[in-house]
């Protein structure tokens, strides 16, 4: 069974200006890929609504898998806008899968039609009603970790909570009450594989042999302690002189009786067998062969994303030609471009031109992604996610990770070199980490790699 707890379409709750077309093309590809990979269900997170409710409804109708949310409801009648849960039969057991949506702000164009209800208003009743119909209950949740823990503490009928977007690292399953909480790290580096041996007791725990061994080991320890105290004369009458020790002796005796009863029950098979699990987080490495159909589809999607960006650039250029420009249009930008910097700093520029930063835009050209607004901000100078569309029409000497990417805009410094210093002389690691994220460069080492810049 393959599931995702949500946030697969978009990585933010609202789409940035000018990026809607490419973001939707990417989202459509992800949905197709999930269909090809045979996903059984996905949860809905608030990010999935970034392009609006109507868009998600359309996507869900075209998906081969159900989109689940029990608490994303119509504001007027409070009825769920999507399927709240499904029941899958696998082998001998019926698995209930519920979706619950985290309470981040909804996109502006849900136009008040959608409301995210607190989980407390929907989950207790739903979980209870599914308990009698299902052997295993799974929650796909985009709520924060603390909320999922509260669910686990209060609703024992939910056996597994798979979290979305809760952290950058993989989370080994943690048992809270009778619920396992887990998630894979963000940014799609790993897949979680949870292998269960599910028992009719519907309880998590160690297997019988392990429980028996543990109980016998504890009994040995308790018996040893008791004998030690008995050698001191306990629980004889004269030990009343030391009431604390006597209390301790009686506690140990009680523990011994409990352990004996537990061992007896385990040996006679009275204790219902517990369910067990194993978890792995295999890394999604380049060496893993791609599913051919998915690979072809991703290739097509990336070509479409690039084509949309190229079209946007043409529109921007047409508009610019039709609009009267100031005599020196480039002066409107605080950025100079690397050639101007190199005029006064030739040795640094020469060193930089041999670096990978100088060829960062060409990397995108080779991959035919030079118009992809998701990629461009980290491959050019002076552009961030918010103004990404501007990257489409940059002059040639800013289509690199140039001097000003690290030292800040240089126009003022260029105009008055001694009066105005560069914004940043020695860039801190945080400047680099904006682009050298674990997602894109998990081997980045600031101390080592800063020496490669020039």
């Amino acid at each position: 069974m393959t599931v995702d707890s949500g946030g697969l379409l978009f990585d933010q709750p609202t789409l940035l200006a000018g990026r809607e077309g490419q973001a939707k093309a990417s989202a459509a590809a992800i949905v197709k890929a999930y269909g090809l990979m045979g996903y059984d269900a996905v949860g809905i997170s608030a990010n999935d609504l970034a392009a609006g409710l109507a868009y998600l409804k359309k996507v869900s109708q075209q998906s081969r898998f159900p989109w689940l949310s029990a608490n994303l409801v119509n504001t007027t009648d409070r009825k769920p806008l999507f399927t709240p849960f499904i029941i899958r039969k696998i082998g001998q057991i019926r698995i209930g899968i519920i979706g619950i949506t985290g309470s981040a702000a909804l996109a502006a164009d849900t136009t008040g039609e959608a409301t995210i209800l607190p989980w407390q208003q929907v989950l207790p009743d739903l979980a209870e009603s599914l308990t009698s119909r299902c052997d295993l209950l799974l929650l796909l949740s985009s709520l924060p970790d603390e909320a999922n823990r509260r669910i686990a503490e209060s609703l024992s009928g939910i056996h597994i909570i798979l979290q979305a977007g809760s952290g950058s690292a993989n989370m080994m399953p943690e048992q809270v009450g009778n619920t396992l909480l887990t998630h894979t790290g963000r940014q799609g580096k790993y897949i979680g594989r949870l292998q269960l041996d599910w028992k009719p007791s519907k309880r998590w725990g160690k297997d019988q042999a392990r429980l028996l061994l543990d109980a016998q080991r504890k009994l040995d320890q308790v018996n040893w302690q008791l004998k030690r105290l008995q050698r001191k004369g306990l629980p004889a009458a004269d030990s009343q002189d030391n009431p604390k020790l006597l209390t301790y002796y009686h506690q140990l005796s009680d523990t011994r009786d409990l352990l004996l009863a537990q061992i007896s029950a385990l040996q006679q098979g009275h204790e219902a067998p517990r369910s067990t699990y194993q978890v792995e987080f295999p890394a999604i490495e380049a060496s893993i062969p791609n599913l051919e159909a998915v690979e072809a589809m991703v290739r097509e999607a990336k070509a479409e994303i690039n084509r949309l960006g190229k079209e946007a650039r043409l529109r921007m250029q047409t508009t610019a030609r039709a609009t009267p420009q100031p005599a020196d249009a480039t002066a409107a930008s605080p950025y100079l471009g690397w050639r101007k910097c190199g005029g006064c700093h030739p040795s640094q520029a020469a060193g930089w031109r041999k670096s990978r930063h100088a060829g960062s835009y060409q990397t995108l050209v080779k991959k035919e992604q030079q118009f992809n607004l998701n990629c461009l901000p980290c491959h050019v100078t002076g552009i961030d996610a918010a103004n990404a569309p501007e990257a489409l029409t940059l002059p040639d000497d800013r289509r690199q990770v140039g001097c000003e990417s690290c030292h800040g805009p240089g126009r003022l410094h260029g105009a008055a070199p001694t009066a105005s210093r560069p914004t940043v002389s020695l860039p801190p690691a945080t400047t680099c980490l904006g682009c050298h994220t674990p997602e894109h460069d998990d081997d980045f080492d600031f101390a080592r790699d800063q020496l490669l810049v020039h």
Partner: protein
Amino acid sequence: MKPILPLLAGLAALLSGFFSPLQAMAQWTSQPLTIYFANDLHGEIEPCG
């Protein structure tokens, strides 16, 4: 109509037994199951270069 009643009762008994949770419990003692789960996979689908 009379002859049908025992038949219906038998059918009802059969169905109630068939669908009872206890009966279902008795039908399986252990179920292996593998769940694959991902998070934020679009990061992997959209690598830039």
